[in-house]
Amino acid sequence: MATHERQPEANNRPARPMTVGQLELSAERREFLAPRLAALLADFSKLEALASSDWEPAMTAELTDEVRRERE
Protein backbone atom coordinates (compact mmCIF):
# COMPACT_ATOMS: atom_id res chain seq x y z
CA MET A 1 0.00 0.00 0.00
CA ALA A 2 2.99 2.31 0.42
CA THR A 3 3.03 5.18 -1.99
CA HIS A 4 5.48 7.93 -2.52
CA GLU A 5 4.55 11.28 -1.14
CA ARG A 6 2.45 13.64 -3.16
CA GLN A 7 3.16 17.20 -4.04
CA PRO A 8 1.45 19.76 -1.83
CA GLU A 9 -2.08 20.31 -2.96
CA ALA A 10 -5.23 21.95 -1.78
CA ASN A 11 -6.53 20.85 1.58
CA ASN A 12 -9.16 18.41 0.45
CA ARG A 13 -10.18 16.94 3.77
CA PRO A 14 -13.73 15.69 3.32
CA ALA A 15 -16.10 18.56 3.80
CA ARG A 16 -18.32 18.54 6.85
CA PRO A 17 -21.86 18.54 5.46
CA MET A 18 -24.32 20.94 7.04
CA THR A 19 -26.51 18.49 8.90
CA VAL A 20 -28.32 18.87 12.17
CA GLY A 21 -29.96 16.52 14.61
CA GLN A 22 -29.45 12.83 15.12
CA LEU A 23 -27.89 10.44 12.67
CA GLU A 24 -30.68 9.13 10.48
CA LEU A 25 -30.41 5.40 9.96
CA SER A 26 -32.58 3.40 7.60
CA ALA A 27 -35.11 1.01 9.08
CA GLU A 28 -33.07 -1.85 7.72
CA ARG A 29 -29.93 -0.52 9.37
CA ARG A 30 -31.68 0.03 12.69
CA GLU A 31 -32.98 -3.52 12.56
CA PHE A 32 -29.47 -4.79 11.90
CA LEU A 33 -28.04 -2.82 14.83
CA ALA A 34 -30.88 -3.45 17.29
CA PRO A 35 -29.69 -6.72 18.89
CA ARG A 36 -26.12 -5.43 19.14
CA LEU A 37 -27.28 -2.17 20.69
CA ALA A 38 -29.48 -3.99 23.17
CA ALA A 39 -26.57 -6.21 24.23
CA LEU A 40 -24.24 -3.23 24.51
CA LEU A 41 -26.68 -1.20 26.60
CA ALA A 42 -27.38 -4.17 28.84
CA ASP A 43 -23.67 -4.41 29.51
CA PHE A 44 -23.26 -0.66 30.05
CA SER A 45 -26.16 -0.75 32.52
CA LYS A 46 -23.79 -2.60 34.87
CA LEU A 47 -21.98 0.71 35.32
CA GLU A 48 -24.78 1.63 37.69
CA ALA A 49 -23.32 -0.81 40.20
CA LEU A 50 -20.19 1.33 40.40
CA ALA A 51 -21.39 4.81 39.52
CA SER A 52 -23.58 6.66 41.97
CA SER A 53 -25.80 9.57 41.09
CA ASP A 54 -24.06 11.46 43.91
CA TRP A 55 -20.70 11.34 42.16
CA GLU A 56 -19.42 14.27 40.15
CA PRO A 57 -18.34 12.93 36.73
CA ALA A 58 -14.57 12.88 36.21
CA MET A 59 -13.69 15.39 33.53
CA THR A 60 -10.81 15.54 31.11
CA ALA A 61 -7.40 16.36 32.53
CA GLU A 62 -8.60 16.38 36.14
CA LEU A 63 -5.84 14.01 37.16
CA THR A 64 -3.14 16.07 35.53
CA ASP A 65 -4.55 19.30 36.93
CA GLU A 66 -4.14 17.92 40.42
CA VAL A 67 -0.48 17.10 39.82
CA ARG A 68 0.12 20.46 38.23
CA ARG A 69 -1.34 22.25 41.23
CA GLU A 70 0.86 20.18 43.57
CA ARG A 71 3.98 21.12 41.64
CA GLU A 72 3.25 24.81 41.08
Binding site: P8, R13, E24, F44, T64
Partner: protein, 474 residues
Protein backbone atom coordinates in the same frame (compact mmCIF):
# COMPACT_ATOMS: atom_id res chain seq x y z
CA UNK B 1 29.26 -0.65 8.33
CA UNK B 2 26.65 -2.12 5.95
CA UNK B 3 23.19 -0.65 5.41
CA UNK B 4 21.52 -3.35 7.49
CA UNK B 5 24.03 -2.87 10.28
CA UNK B 6 23.30 0.85 10.25
CA UNK B 7 19.57 0.16 10.42
CA UNK B 8 20.04 -2.25 13.34
CA UNK B 9 21.61 0.45 15.52
CA UNK B 10 19.57 2.00 18.29
CA UNK B 11 18.37 5.60 17.97
CA UNK B 12 20.82 6.78 20.62
CA UNK B 13 23.72 4.90 19.03
CA UNK B 14 23.08 6.23 15.53
CA UNK B 15 22.57 9.71 16.96
CA UNK B 16 25.99 9.54 18.60
CA UNK B 17 27.63 8.34 15.38
CA UNK B 18 26.03 11.21 13.50
CA UNK B 19 27.17 13.70 16.17
CA UNK B 20 30.71 12.37 15.93
CA UNK B 21 30.48 12.50 12.12
CA UNK B 22 31.24 8.80 11.80
CA UNK B 23 28.21 8.50 9.59
CA UNK B 24 26.15 11.14 7.81
CA UNK B 25 22.37 11.71 7.99
CA UNK B 26 22.21 11.11 4.23
CA UNK B 27 23.89 7.70 4.57
CA UNK B 28 21.57 6.73 7.39
CA UNK B 29 18.47 7.94 5.55
CA UNK B 30 19.48 6.20 2.32
CA UNK B 31 20.08 2.96 4.23
CA UNK B 32 16.67 3.24 5.89
CA UNK B 33 14.89 3.93 2.59
CA UNK B 34 16.67 1.03 0.97
CA UNK B 35 15.58 -1.28 3.78
CA UNK B 36 12.00 -0.03 3.50
CA UNK B 37 12.06 -0.74 -0.23
CA UNK B 38 13.35 -4.23 0.49
CA UNK B 39 10.98 -5.20 3.30
CA UNK B 40 7.83 -3.13 2.80
CA UNK B 41 6.25 -5.52 0.29
CA UNK B 42 6.20 -8.18 2.99
CA UNK B 43 5.37 -6.00 6.00
CA UNK B 44 2.91 -3.36 4.71
CA UNK B 45 4.10 -1.08 7.50
CA UNK B 46 3.74 2.21 5.59
CA UNK B 47 0.97 4.12 3.90
CA UNK B 48 3.31 6.77 2.52
CA UNK B 49 7.09 6.68 2.25
CA UNK B 50 8.44 10.24 2.21
CA UNK B 51 11.61 9.47 0.30
CA UNK B 52 12.17 12.80 -1.41
CA UNK B 53 11.54 15.09 1.54
CA UNK B 54 13.45 12.74 3.87
CA UNK B 55 16.54 12.90 1.68
CA UNK B 56 16.21 16.68 1.38
CA UNK B 57 15.92 16.99 5.17
CA UNK B 58 18.90 14.66 5.62
CA UNK B 59 20.98 16.82 3.29
CA UNK B 60 20.04 19.92 5.28
CA UNK B 61 20.91 18.14 8.53
CA UNK B 62 24.27 17.10 7.13
CA UNK B 63 25.03 20.69 6.12
CA UNK B 64 23.97 22.04 9.52
CA UNK B 65 26.09 19.52 11.39
CA UNK B 66 29.12 20.23 9.21
CA UNK B 67 28.65 23.94 10.03
CA UNK B 68 28.69 23.07 13.72
CA UNK B 69 24.96 23.68 14.13
CA UNK B 70 24.23 20.40 15.88
CA UNK B 71 20.73 20.26 17.33
CA UNK B 72 20.89 17.20 19.58
CA UNK B 73 20.40 13.45 19.65
CA UNK B 74 17.66 13.38 17.00
CA UNK B 75 19.55 15.44 14.44
CA UNK B 76 19.63 13.46 11.21
CA UNK B 77 17.80 10.43 12.64
CA UNK B 78 14.94 8.88 10.58
CA UNK B 79 11.62 8.57 12.43
CA UNK B 80 8.17 7.46 11.22
CA UNK B 81 4.71 8.64 12.25
CA UNK B 82 1.41 6.81 12.52
CA UNK B 83 -0.68 8.10 9.64
CA UNK B 84 -2.93 10.19 11.85
CA UNK B 85 -0.35 12.88 12.62
CA UNK B 86 -0.90 15.88 10.36
CA UNK B 87 2.03 16.38 8.00
CA UNK B 88 2.00 19.56 5.96
CA UNK B 89 1.74 18.77 2.25
CA UNK B 90 1.76 15.00 2.79
CA UNK B 91 -1.49 13.09 2.90
CA UNK B 92 -2.75 11.88 6.25
CA UNK B 93 -5.22 9.06 5.73
CA UNK B 94 -5.85 7.61 9.20
CA UNK B 95 -5.84 4.42 7.07
CA UNK B 96 -9.41 5.12 5.98
CA UNK B 97 -11.02 5.70 2.59
CA UNK B 98 -12.77 8.66 4.22
CA UNK B 99 -9.47 10.55 4.59
CA UNK B 100 -7.68 8.88 1.66
CA UNK B 101 -6.91 12.20 -0.06
CA UNK B 102 -6.60 14.48 2.96
CA UNK B 103 -3.49 16.65 2.69
CA UNK B 104 -3.06 18.83 5.81
CA UNK B 105 -1.86 22.40 5.48
CA UNK B 106 0.05 22.22 8.76
CA UNK B 107 2.11 19.85 10.88
CA UNK B 108 0.94 18.35 14.17
CA UNK B 109 2.74 19.89 17.17
CA UNK B 110 4.65 16.63 17.71
CA UNK B 111 5.84 16.74 14.10
CA UNK B 112 6.94 20.37 14.41
CA UNK B 113 8.92 19.53 17.55
CA UNK B 114 10.56 16.52 15.91
CA UNK B 115 11.55 18.60 12.89
CA UNK B 116 12.89 21.34 15.19
CA UNK B 117 15.02 18.69 16.91
CA UNK B 118 16.44 17.76 13.51
CA UNK B 119 14.64 14.41 13.09
CA UNK B 120 14.05 13.14 9.56
CA UNK B 121 10.42 12.17 8.92
CA UNK B 122 10.77 9.02 6.84
CA UNK B 123 7.13 8.12 6.29
CA UNK B 124 3.58 7.65 7.50
CA UNK B 125 2.93 4.29 9.10
CA UNK B 126 -0.03 1.98 8.50
CA UNK B 127 -2.62 1.65 11.25
CA UNK B 128 -6.08 0.41 12.09
CA UNK B 129 -8.75 2.57 10.47
CA UNK B 130 -9.06 5.77 12.52
CA UNK B 131 -7.27 3.84 15.32
CA UNK B 132 -10.57 2.08 16.01
CA UNK B 133 -9.66 -1.58 16.02
CA UNK B 134 -10.27 -2.64 12.42
CA UNK B 135 -8.11 -2.71 9.30
CA UNK B 136 -9.68 -1.11 6.24
CA UNK B 137 -9.28 -3.44 3.25
CA UNK B 138 -7.90 -0.59 1.11
CA UNK B 139 -4.88 -0.46 3.42
CA UNK B 140 -4.57 -4.08 4.52
CA UNK B 141 -2.98 -5.55 7.64
CA UNK B 142 0.60 -5.00 8.73
CA UNK B 143 2.59 -8.22 9.11
CA UNK B 144 4.64 -9.02 12.18
CA UNK B 145 8.40 -8.90 11.47
CA UNK B 146 8.87 -11.80 13.87
CA UNK B 147 6.61 -14.02 11.80
CA UNK B 148 5.00 -12.73 8.65
CA UNK B 149 1.90 -14.90 9.02
CA UNK B 150 1.12 -13.16 12.30
CA UNK B 151 -0.40 -9.77 13.08
CA UNK B 152 1.03 -6.85 14.99
CA UNK B 153 -2.21 -5.90 16.69
CA UNK B 154 -3.15 -2.25 16.56
CA UNK B 155 -3.83 0.34 16.20
CA UNK B 156 -0.26 1.64 15.76
CA UNK B 157 0.52 -1.46 13.73
CA UNK B 158 2.85 -0.04 11.09
CA UNK B 159 4.80 1.94 13.69
CA UNK B 160 5.54 -1.18 15.75
CA UNK B 161 6.49 -3.30 12.73
CA UNK B 162 8.69 -0.54 11.29
CA UNK B 163 10.62 -0.10 14.52
CA UNK B 164 11.01 -3.85 15.03
CA UNK B 165 12.23 -4.38 11.47
CA UNK B 166 14.74 -1.52 11.52
CA UNK B 167 12.74 0.74 9.18
CA UNK B 168 13.63 3.89 11.10
CA UNK B 169 14.89 4.35 14.66
CA UNK B 170 11.59 5.21 16.29
CA UNK B 171 7.99 6.02 15.57
CA UNK B 172 5.12 7.93 17.12
CA UNK B 173 1.79 6.26 17.70
CA UNK B 174 -1.43 6.98 19.54
CA UNK B 175 -3.04 5.07 22.40
CA UNK B 176 -6.71 5.21 23.39
CA UNK B 177 -7.10 1.71 24.80
CA UNK B 178 -3.59 0.31 24.30
CA UNK B 179 -2.72 1.17 20.71
CA UNK B 180 0.92 2.07 21.38
CA UNK B 181 1.67 -0.52 24.05
CA UNK B 182 -0.08 -3.58 22.61
CA UNK B 183 1.54 -3.58 19.14
CA UNK B 184 4.84 -2.78 20.86
CA UNK B 185 4.45 -5.94 22.95
CA UNK B 186 3.41 -7.99 19.91
CA UNK B 187 6.46 -6.79 17.94
CA UNK B 188 9.09 -6.90 20.70
CA UNK B 189 9.71 -3.16 20.98
CA UNK B 190 9.30 -0.51 23.67
CA UNK B 191 6.17 1.67 23.63
CA UNK B 192 5.22 4.48 25.99
CA UNK B 193 1.78 5.88 26.65
CA UNK B 194 2.65 9.03 28.55
CA UNK B 195 0.53 10.69 31.22
CA UNK B 196 -2.59 12.39 29.84
CA UNK B 197 -1.46 15.94 29.13
CA UNK B 198 2.24 15.13 28.85
CA UNK B 199 2.30 15.37 25.03
CA UNK B 200 0.19 17.62 22.82
CA UNK B 201 -2.38 15.98 20.54
CA UNK B 202 -2.80 19.11 18.39
CA UNK B 203 -2.89 18.06 14.75
CA UNK B 204 -3.60 14.42 15.52
CA UNK B 205 -6.81 12.91 14.12
CA UNK B 206 -8.80 12.14 17.29
CA UNK B 207 -10.46 8.89 18.22
CA UNK B 208 -11.74 9.82 21.67
CA UNK B 209 -10.67 13.18 23.06
CA UNK B 210 -10.64 12.34 26.74
CA UNK B 211 -8.81 9.02 26.22
CA UNK B 212 -6.34 9.77 23.42
CA UNK B 213 -2.61 9.88 24.13
CA UNK B 214 0.35 10.07 21.75
CA UNK B 215 3.79 8.68 22.47
CA UNK B 216 7.01 7.10 21.19
CA UNK B 217 7.85 3.55 20.12
CA UNK B 218 11.49 2.47 19.95
CA UNK B 219 13.82 -0.50 20.25
CA UNK B 220 14.99 0.42 23.75
CA UNK B 221 14.02 2.49 26.76
CA UNK B 222 16.76 5.11 26.36
CA UNK B 223 15.56 5.89 22.83
CA UNK B 224 12.03 6.23 24.14
CA UNK B 225 13.22 8.71 26.78
CA UNK B 226 15.01 10.78 24.14
CA UNK B 227 11.91 10.97 21.95
CA UNK B 228 9.57 11.86 24.80
CA UNK B 229 11.83 14.68 25.95
CA UNK B 230 11.82 16.12 22.42
CA UNK B 231 8.05 16.42 22.15
CA UNK B 232 6.66 16.76 25.70
CA UNK B 233 5.35 19.92 27.29
CA UNK B 234 2.65 22.55 27.13
CA UNK B 235 1.20 23.65 23.80
CA UNK B 236 -1.02 26.64 23.10
CA UNK B 237 -2.77 24.58 20.41
CA UNK B 238 -3.86 21.83 22.84
CA UNK B 239 -5.61 22.96 26.02
CA UNK B 240 -5.06 19.52 27.59
CA UNK B 241 -1.26 19.70 27.21
CA UNK B 242 -0.22 20.38 30.81
CA UNK B 243 2.12 23.10 32.00
CA UNK B 244 4.34 20.66 33.86
CA UNK B 245 8.13 20.85 33.53
CA UNK B 246 9.78 18.32 31.23
CA UNK B 247 12.69 16.52 32.96
CA UNK B 248 15.82 15.35 31.18
CA UNK B 249 14.53 11.81 30.87
CA UNK B 250 17.57 10.25 29.19
CA UNK B 251 19.97 11.74 31.74
CA UNK B 252 17.92 10.18 34.52
CA UNK B 253 18.82 6.75 33.17
CA UNK B 254 22.45 7.30 34.12
CA UNK B 255 21.63 8.17 37.72
CA UNK B 256 21.29 5.63 40.51
CA UNK B 257 17.81 4.16 40.50
CA UNK B 258 15.91 4.65 43.76
CA UNK B 259 14.85 1.45 45.57
CA UNK B 260 11.21 1.69 44.70
CA UNK B 261 8.30 -0.50 45.71
CA UNK B 262 6.62 -2.17 42.77
CA UNK B 263 3.13 -3.61 42.97
CA UNK B 264 2.73 -6.79 40.94
CA UNK B 265 -0.79 -7.31 39.60
CA UNK B 266 -1.94 -10.75 40.69
CA UNK B 267 -3.72 -13.29 38.51
CA UNK B 268 -7.49 -12.93 38.56
CA UNK B 269 -10.36 -15.07 37.34
CA UNK B 270 -11.18 -14.24 33.76
CA UNK B 271 -8.06 -12.22 33.06
CA UNK B 272 -7.32 -14.42 30.03
CA UNK B 273 -3.57 -14.47 30.63
CA UNK B 274 -1.86 -17.36 28.84
CA UNK B 275 0.74 -19.51 30.61
CA UNK B 276 3.57 -18.04 28.48
CA UNK B 277 2.63 -14.49 29.40
CA UNK B 278 2.10 -15.38 33.06
CA UNK B 279 5.53 -17.00 33.22
CA UNK B 280 7.17 -13.97 31.58
CA UNK B 281 5.49 -11.62 34.07
CA UNK B 282 6.52 -13.81 37.00
CA UNK B 283 10.10 -13.85 35.71
CA UNK B 284 10.00 -10.05 35.41
CA UNK B 285 8.99 -9.78 39.08
CA UNK B 286 11.91 -12.01 40.04
CA UNK B 287 14.29 -9.85 37.99
CA UNK B 288 13.01 -6.72 39.72
CA UNK B 289 13.69 -8.24 43.13
CA UNK B 290 17.18 -9.27 42.01
CA UNK B 291 17.73 -5.65 40.99
CA UNK B 292 16.91 -4.58 44.53
CA UNK B 293 13.33 -3.43 44.14
CA UNK B 294 10.71 -4.42 46.67
CA UNK B 295 7.71 -6.12 45.10
CA UNK B 296 4.34 -6.59 46.72
CA UNK B 297 1.26 -8.37 45.32
CA UNK B 298 -1.67 -6.10 44.46
CA UNK B 299 -5.13 -6.56 42.98
CA UNK B 300 -6.21 -4.70 39.86
CA UNK B 301 -9.00 -2.28 40.86
CA UNK B 302 -12.32 -2.70 39.06
CA UNK B 303 -10.89 -4.32 35.90
CA UNK B 304 -14.22 -5.08 34.21
CA UNK B 305 -15.87 -1.80 35.17
CA UNK B 306 -12.84 0.18 34.04
CA UNK B 307 -13.10 -1.35 30.58
CA UNK B 308 -16.86 -0.88 30.52
CA UNK B 309 -16.46 2.82 31.33
CA UNK B 310 -13.67 3.16 28.78
CA UNK B 311 -15.75 1.60 26.02
CA UNK B 312 -18.84 3.70 26.82
CA UNK B 313 -16.75 6.88 26.61
CA UNK B 314 -14.92 5.68 23.51
CA UNK B 315 -18.09 4.67 21.61
CA UNK B 316 -19.76 8.03 22.24
CA UNK B 317 -16.78 10.34 21.70
CA UNK B 318 -15.65 8.55 18.52
CA UNK B 319 -19.16 8.71 17.09
CA UNK B 320 -19.39 12.40 17.89
CA UNK B 321 -16.22 13.18 15.92
CA UNK B 322 -17.33 11.08 12.96
CA UNK B 323 -20.92 12.34 12.67
CA UNK B 324 -20.33 14.43 9.51
CA UNK B 325 -18.83 11.57 7.52
CA UNK B 326 -21.05 8.93 9.08
CA UNK B 327 -23.99 10.88 7.70
CA UNK B 328 -22.53 11.62 4.28
CA UNK B 329 -20.45 8.56 3.32
CA UNK B 330 -20.97 5.68 5.75
CA UNK B 331 -20.13 3.13 3.07
CA UNK B 332 -16.54 4.39 2.99
CA UNK B 333 -15.81 3.02 6.46
CA UNK B 334 -14.87 -0.61 6.99
CA UNK B 335 -17.84 -2.72 8.08
CA UNK B 336 -16.87 -2.96 11.75
CA UNK B 337 -15.77 0.67 12.13
CA UNK B 338 -19.10 1.81 10.72
CA UNK B 339 -20.94 -0.54 13.06
CA UNK B 340 -19.12 0.75 16.15
CA UNK B 341 -19.65 4.38 15.08
CA UNK B 342 -23.36 3.89 14.44
CA UNK B 343 -23.83 2.06 17.73
CA UNK B 344 -22.04 4.90 19.52
CA UNK B 345 -24.52 7.35 18.03
CA UNK B 346 -27.38 5.47 19.67
CA UNK B 347 -26.01 5.32 23.23
CA UNK B 348 -27.93 7.62 25.62
CA UNK B 349 -26.17 10.54 27.26
CA UNK B 350 -26.96 9.08 30.68
CA UNK B 351 -24.68 6.12 29.90
CA UNK B 352 -21.87 8.48 28.99
CA UNK B 353 -22.21 10.38 32.26
CA UNK B 354 -22.37 7.15 34.27
CA UNK B 355 -19.14 6.11 32.58
CA UNK B 356 -17.54 9.39 33.68
CA UNK B 357 -18.76 8.77 37.23
CA UNK B 358 -17.29 5.27 37.15
CA UNK B 359 -14.09 6.78 35.79
CA UNK B 360 -13.78 8.90 38.94
CA UNK B 361 -14.10 5.80 41.12
CA UNK B 362 -11.47 3.95 39.12
CA UNK B 363 -9.12 6.96 39.28
CA UNK B 364 -9.62 7.17 43.06
CA UNK B 365 -8.93 3.43 43.40
CA UNK B 366 -5.64 3.72 41.54
CA UNK B 367 -4.75 6.83 43.56
CA UNK B 368 -5.24 4.76 46.72
CA UNK B 369 -3.18 1.91 45.27
CA UNK B 370 -0.31 4.27 44.50
CA UNK B 371 -0.15 5.31 48.15
CA UNK B 372 1.43 1.89 48.81
CA UNK B 373 3.52 1.44 45.68
CA UNK B 374 5.65 3.57 43.39
CA UNK B 375 5.04 1.57 40.22
CA UNK B 376 2.96 -1.32 38.98
CA UNK B 377 4.05 -4.38 36.97
CA UNK B 378 1.52 -6.28 34.86
CA UNK B 379 1.32 -8.34 31.71
CA UNK B 380 0.95 -6.02 28.71
CA UNK B 381 -1.39 -8.15 26.67
CA UNK B 382 -2.99 -11.31 28.07
CA UNK B 383 -1.65 -13.18 25.04
CA UNK B 384 0.93 -12.85 22.27
CA UNK B 385 0.35 -12.36 18.55
CA UNK B 386 -2.29 -14.16 16.46
CA UNK B 387 -2.40 -15.49 12.90
CA UNK B 388 -3.68 -13.08 10.28
CA UNK B 389 -6.74 -13.96 8.27
CA UNK B 390 -9.91 -15.69 9.27
CA UNK B 391 -13.46 -14.50 9.12
CA UNK B 392 -14.71 -11.13 10.27
CA UNK B 393 -15.85 -11.12 13.87
CA UNK B 394 -18.69 -8.92 15.12
CA UNK B 395 -17.48 -5.96 17.23
CA UNK B 396 -20.02 -6.62 20.00
CA UNK B 397 -20.09 -10.07 21.55
CA UNK B 398 -23.24 -11.86 22.62
CA UNK B 399 -22.70 -10.82 26.23
CA UNK B 400 -22.65 -7.17 25.15
CA UNK B 401 -18.97 -6.45 25.63
CA UNK B 402 -16.79 -5.24 22.82
CA UNK B 403 -14.48 -7.97 21.61
CA UNK B 404 -11.50 -5.62 22.18
CA UNK B 405 -12.14 -5.72 25.93
CA UNK B 406 -10.13 -8.88 26.66
CA UNK B 407 -7.11 -7.56 24.83
CA UNK B 408 -7.26 -4.22 26.68
CA UNK B 409 -7.46 -5.76 30.16
CA UNK B 410 -4.12 -4.32 31.27
CA UNK B 411 -3.80 -1.34 28.91
CA UNK B 412 -7.25 0.25 28.88
CA UNK B 413 -7.46 1.20 32.57
CA UNK B 414 -4.53 3.56 32.14
CA UNK B 415 -6.11 5.37 29.22
CA UNK B 416 -9.11 5.79 31.49
CA UNK B 417 -7.06 7.07 34.43
CA UNK B 418 -4.43 8.93 32.40
CA UNK B 419 -1.55 7.24 34.23
CA UNK B 420 1.63 6.55 32.20
CA UNK B 421 2.44 3.01 31.07
CA UNK B 422 5.34 1.54 29.17
CA UNK B 423 5.56 -1.81 27.41
CA UNK B 424 8.95 -3.50 27.55
CA UNK B 425 10.01 -6.77 25.85
CA UNK B 426 10.13 -9.62 28.35
CA UNK B 427 10.81 -12.72 26.30
CA UNK B 428 9.11 -14.88 23.71
CA UNK B 429 6.43 -17.56 23.68
CA UNK B 430 7.17 -21.21 23.04
CA UNK B 431 6.27 -20.37 19.41
CA UNK B 432 8.93 -17.64 19.32
CA UNK B 433 6.60 -14.64 19.40
CA UNK B 434 7.38 -11.59 21.56
CA UNK B 435 5.87 -11.01 25.00
CA UNK B 436 5.77 -7.63 26.71
CA UNK B 437 5.32 -6.57 30.31
CA UNK B 438 3.97 -3.22 31.42
CA UNK B 439 5.22 -0.80 34.04
CA UNK B 440 2.76 1.86 35.17
CA UNK B 441 3.70 4.99 37.09
CA UNK B 442 2.16 7.93 38.87
CA UNK B 443 0.90 10.92 36.91
CA UNK B 444 3.88 12.65 35.28
CA UNK B 445 6.10 9.95 36.77
CA UNK B 446 7.71 9.01 33.45
CA UNK B 447 11.19 9.54 34.88
CA UNK B 448 10.86 6.71 37.41
CA UNK B 449 9.09 4.61 34.80
CA UNK B 450 12.02 4.96 32.43
CA UNK B 451 14.57 4.27 35.17
CA UNK B 452 12.95 0.99 36.20
CA UNK B 453 12.16 -0.10 32.65
CA UNK B 454 15.75 0.66 31.61
CA UNK B 455 17.19 -1.27 34.56
CA UNK B 456 14.90 -4.18 33.70
CA UNK B 457 15.87 -4.08 30.04
CA UNK B 458 19.57 -3.92 30.86
CA UNK B 459 19.21 -6.90 33.17
CA UNK B 460 17.26 -9.01 30.72
CA UNK B 461 19.13 -7.98 27.56
CA UNK B 462 15.74 -8.01 25.94
CA UNK B 463 16.58 -5.33 23.41
CA UNK B 464 16.32 -7.50 20.40
CA UNK B 465 15.82 -7.19 16.70
CA UNK B 466 13.40 -9.74 15.27
CA UNK B 467 14.75 -13.24 15.13
CA UNK B 468 12.73 -13.33 11.92
CA UNK B 469 15.54 -11.30 10.34
CA UNK B 470 16.35 -14.23 8.08
CA UNK B 471 12.70 -14.59 7.19
CA UNK B 472 12.46 -10.87 6.42
CA UNK B 473 15.42 -10.59 4.09
CA UNK B 474 15.24 -14.03 2.46
Amino acid sequence: MSGSELCAQSLSAIGQRIAQREVSPVEVTEATLQRIEQLEPRLNAFVTVMAESALAAATRAEQEISRGEYRGPLHGVPISLKDLFYTKGVRTTAASRVFADFVPDRDATVVTRLRDAGAIIIGKANMAEFAYGETHPDFGPTHNPWHLDYGTNGSSSGSAAAVAAGLGYGSFGSDTGGSIRLPSAFCGVVGLKPTYGRVSRAGVVPLSWSLDHVGPMTRNVRDCAILLEAVAGADADDPTAARVDVPHYAEALDREVPRLTIGVLQPATGDGVTPDVRAATDRAAVTLRELGFKTIPVEQPHPEQALRALMAILYVEASTYHQPWLRSRPEDYSVNTRERLELGSLIPGTVYVQALQARRIVIDAYRALFRDVDLLLSPMSPFASYRLGGQRVQPVTEDGSDRMNGLMRFSGPFDLTGLPGISVPAGVTTDGLPIGVQFVGKAFGEEALFQVAHAFQQATAATIMPTAEGNLVA
